[in-house]
Point group: C3
């Protein structure tokens, strides 16, 4: 896709009120489904998954605060961040003092509306900018309406798309769908998944790719509760994608394992792009906290650009379209594609003529006339591949040692396979 | 203890003529015993211990040099450093030229009296400042008196204090008692042991703590010759404490093993305080040379502030009260206490709910209202502990990974134990 | 040898037309043989060795280009680099345009003649400086003569010299003989081998030393094809020596194994001299590419000063006597000798008195009078050796830990062996 197409999808998704559950999530999937055939499931509220329970389904018709002149001074329709996530219904008139206990602002970032939720404890509240708050009449009475529902018979919507490869071994590419109108810390993830799906579906794939889109935390906990036994068998790698649309450099949060294939490959490319490598930490982050919990411990890393909590706009109304760039999302796709291409081709080869160098010249693979500096990168890749095709070093190991890029290795590998000088390790 | 109390003990100990043996050592132990109940033993001169023999007991009544006017120009009573340690008795009148062969000065540090000894080779001698020496009349005759005794039937005094813990596993805290009037490179060590004894006796201890105070080298050799078989069984860690009273940063000389528990824990805290880590070296130092000899090889490290031989005042009369600070000694005690507290609590736990995260919110352990940056360090410690309570990572491993401090981990651990979410690995 | 002697040998060898084979090589060996008794063998053209075949023997009588006035404008007798290596015979008159296809220059280094060869593909050609080329009359006819022969019944000359040691274990010191008049990238290697031979033959050697001198690549491939089975048994270490005569710092290209004895020892000394350590790479270099091919994988490293391809004069007529220094060659010999001495003495010892320190004083090995800083490096070496003579650490391990030099360790070792305090590990 190009940036215009991505932006059009973004614009459709932006206004929907996403949360752990509800119609906003269903409508979001309906839009995404045009580009990526999700298997969508509804998980009933009340379903238990490990230590957790799927919460009631939350929907909102309207929500506002009116001043004593009947003017709506805060309205959910203006920005769905205005309403505390999972607010219970209320319709009451109250003093400023009473109201105040239910208002959330960011005094240090006075023109931003904060994003706040109370998923597992019943509350109501409104979020507004400090500037808006400061203008409120402290002596007035306010009429508060939240026409919301918390349906114990509802459900949580989750989606999974699959691209089958030759192997049952799976690579999981995940993001989440649960934040209302936020750009980097919500929509950049699903948009990157769409783009990757488009790119990968055109390739002959060795591994199977599963694209997971669910509410953060409770979604992955539910998914693991259903699938962890099979995932312990079939997982080659997982990548949690979030905050991948801003203009910053990449960060890799490694898996808890720390040196799995995906950790090593992602580290290599992210370092090449002057990105930051961060060891796994469980005290914050996204769904990798679940995939890397001690009883599960799958090789799931997480790739971001500027990491959550590291930018001021995070979890505010300022994490908006202006904050991200669609070029950045495509740049993130380029990085992920390179990582995936490397993973797909990371095989071990055996040199069938391992005693001294193969005479490449007589096979048309080496210049017959000597000259300083006359070796192409492909020829160098060939010499590296021949030397390290010892049944122990994988293609990525050799890329790392040589710092020659994948494309040169792929053509070198093909030539050497054609000439029966190397074979794949069985 | 506070600095006033430490200073009072220092002032009592300061003038005593300590050496490998003799009344000065006995009187020193008598003072220390008020604060720390030592088991004091007298080891007979002539006792063999490995390749060594306990030397005769040395005592001095008086020692001086008089000029030809009968004036005492160097007097042991002024400063016990004036007398070469283990000087043999003499009473003779001699020329300056003859006397000269028995005088020791420091030409590069002209107002300091050097500290010199000749424990295992019979000699007599006087140490004086270069300035004093320069004033001597080169043409005069000098009367020399050393009224000392070297008693083959004497003994060497050694002391050991014990704080019993639940476990037979021992932590050895050692310093030495053998230098006459020196502050950093003698008294700072015993004073730190006193302070640590006071602090530890108020705690419920898991391990047993042995405080050893003996003459350097020959003392630890004797101790090992009696105890090494049992020490090979029961030693968890040892720390040799010397030069812990000056105002410099800490240094850790690691044990010969290099990565034992005490090496890792002490390294962590000393690096945190911008200290220096030094690999074990056998070519200089203190009693760790014996504890880390190849047939013994116990996990004994050594902690100092400015290391011996690294400061100009070392082994001179300038290593005096002005050179040290009693606040520094208490600061050293703080560091040692933190190391010991960490060692005491360095257990491995098992998360009993290891599949995905535990839902801390419903247990009152997690804020129910989302907000950026709303996790306390204790909550973060809890999340780290839960994730790494996998039966492989000890509490200290997790402290190191997270850089969250011990106190937060102790309260997090207690809460999780209470709620039966983790248990100690048996 | 001194620099004058080395220079005399250099001057004799310089003008000879060395290549993969031919009289130039034989004459070179005849000169070298005065200083080092080579076992010289002739390997018939057509002999196969692994994937390769010994090429026909190449000899040249004369070779020139004459302009239409009959003037020799390029003449092999002026500089044997003028002729493309392994040029086929020709005698023809042709246009500038035709001639041009057979001329090689270096436009970016206009006063240097390049060195080019075409060993395995039949061609003829001349190399000349860009300045010479620019002066050619583009409209003239040129007479070209190459009176060369490529004899399928000829042979390739190889040489091996041996210094027998007590052990069958071998250290291989290799360079090559195949480039015509070049100084750093040809003659510095054989000259260093001569010097090392002279130095080593005066020593009692523990290991056996083999000095190999053969054409690069095809020579070592032939040698391995004959000897690799025995080399897999007897090789302790190998060092490929090339470009060891310029004024630059040293570089070590490590063996493919990377941490063999020779890698570790050479790394230590080359780092001490501010040299560069380079991991093994198969995409360029010298005979280590063969010794380190995956089926062979011997611990062969390569030591250079400024590495091939890293200096502008490489493979040109400017790699001449002015470019190198005979002092540099002797400096390279000093480094190699230190590496070899360390390897020879890199034994493991066992302290027979491992409980606490040995009382060195009573054995006359320790000062009886204490003083700050009174330990000699030899005494320190003794203390290190005693502590680490635990059956696990070799002498070189201890040198590395202590940073005290080999000589001090050798005298300390001898004293401790004499006094039966340590013994060699059997």
């Amino acid at each position: 896709m190009n940036t215009t197409e991505l932006e059009a999808i973004f614009d459709e998704l932006w206004p929907l009120n996403r949360s752990l559950s509800g119609e906003g999530n269903r409508r979001s999937f309906a839009i995404l489904n045009h580009y990526m055939p999700f298997n969508i499931r509804e998980i009933p509220s009340g379903t238990t998954c490990f230590d957790w329970t799927i919460p009631p389904e939350w929907n909102v018709n309207e929500a506002w605060i009116k001043d004593d002149k009947g003017q709506k001074i805060v309205d959910f329709r203006d920005n769905n961040l205005h309403l505390l996530g999972y607010s219970t219904p209320i319709h009451e008139t109250m003093s400023f003092e009473m109201l105040c206990k239910h208002l959330y602002t960011l005094p240090d970032f006075p023109d931003a509306i904060p994003y706040r939720t109370s998923y597992y404890s019943r509350r109501w509240g409104f979020c507004l900018s400090q500037n808006q708050f400061d203008k409120l009449d402290k002596t007035a009475q306010y009429e508060v309406l939240i026409d919301s529902s918390l349906d114990e018979k509802g459900s949580m919507t989750v989606g999974e798309a699959t691209l089958k490869g030759d192997s049952e071994k799976c690579v999981y590419l995940t993001s989440y769908i649960c934040h209302p109108s936020m750009a980097n810390n919500e929509l950049s993830g699903p948009l990157l998944l769409l783009e990757l799906y488009q790119r990968l579906k055109q390739k002959h794939l060795h591994y199977t790719y599963k694209f997971l889109l669910m509410p953060e935390t409770i979604g992955s906990i539910w998914y693991l509760s259903e699938h962890y036994q099979e995932m312990l068998q079939n997982t080659l790698a997982g990548i949690v994608l979030t905050c991948v649309g801003d203009r910053g450099n990449f960060s890799l949060k490694k898996s808890r394992i720390g040196d799995s294939d995906i950790d090593r490959i992602a580290s290599y490319y992210i370092q090449q792009k002057k990105g930051t490598l961060i060891d796994f930490f469980p005290s914050g982050g996204s769904d990798e906290r679940q995939y890397c919990s001690p009883g599960i411990n799958l090789p799931f890393c997480s790739i971001t650009r500027t990491m959550y909590e590291q930018y001021k706009e995070y979890h505010t109304s300022k994490d908006n379209k202006a904050f991200i760039s669609f070029e950045s999302i495509l740049g993130s796709a380029d990085l992920l594609e390179r990582i995936i291409d490397t993973l797909e081709n990371d095989e071990i080869f055996i040199n069938l003529m391992p005693y001294c160098e193969v005479q490449l010249g007589k096979r048309g693979l080496y210049p017959t006339l000597s000259a300083v500096g006359n070796k192409s990168d492909e020829l160098k890749a060939m010499m590296w591949l021949l030397n390290y095709s010892d049944g122990k070093h994988s293609l990525f190991d050799i890329i790392q040692k040589s710092n020659i890029n994948l494309d040169n290795f792929l053509s070198a590998r093909n030539r050497l396979l054609e000439q029966h000088i190397i074979k794949k390790k069985s």
